[in-house]
Symmetry: C2
């Protein structure tokens, strides 16, 4: 299953960084150019949040009915995400267990590959969603 694609603007990257991840390479184009990334790039948390939003939309469209993200057993960033780059996700459904911390829900493990341009791997996330029982 694949999600829709979306990108982050210069302003979105900088506003997020100012609030939550004030590293020079997330805040300033010149500092980004001079960094190991070679350009202004998004906070890894911003990429993770965007990716799980795309996954939530894709799961909903498939009738899986995610109610909440309850845990992240692993999260690794592989490449920076630059201004305007298209981000999408490849989604693999894993184990589904009866019950969840959310009443009326089951626990669905989801393996997420976060793709940048040319299907390059930007991040890998294993996530556990509370999904509606019976959905």
């Amino acid at each position: 299953m694949n999600s829709q694609a979306r990108s982050l603007s210069h302003q979105e990257i900088i506003e997020f960084a100012q609030a939550f991840d004030p590293q020079p390479y997330h805040l300033d184009s010149a500092a980004g150019d001079a960094s190991i990334f070679g350009g202004l790039c998004a906070s890894g948390w911003q990429v993770a949040a965007l990716a799980t939003q795309l996954v939530t939309e894709a799961l909903t469209a498939e009738g899986v009915c995610p109610v909440m993200l309850t845990g992240v057993p692993s999260l690794t960033w592989r490449k920076p995400t630059f201004v305007g780059q298209s981000i999408s996700t490849g989604i693999t459904l894993g184990d589904r267990k009866s019950g969840s911390m959310v009443p009326g829900c089951d626990s669905q493990t989801v393996t997420i590959s976060v793709f940048g341009p040319d299907e390059s791997l930007v991040a890998e996330i294993t996530a556990i969603f509370a999904v509606e029982s019976g959905a």
Copy 2:
């Protein structure tokens, strides 16, 4: 080691949710009151980002010199974070390995307990930071 404390405003919680995690209980007070959380609460990603910012500040103050968060081997949310609640972190330094994806850095594992009011446990994060070699 403990970090400083900080809180999230109503506006910060809603703006983050509108951009990255548009669940009703992150967007609207009445929907939050009616949810299993019993109130408007912050996206888990917003809590994780805030926590690692507090940890980055604390490590810097201790001379550990974190350059970048490179991975999160585990992340679990335990309780919701409501508007204006004080969030702080308890920090335990784990293994430090020579080398990192960031040139000139080592890899420092850090176990983070995210605390809400009355030292209640809000989230647990295991994080790997690239830290300046020799620092």
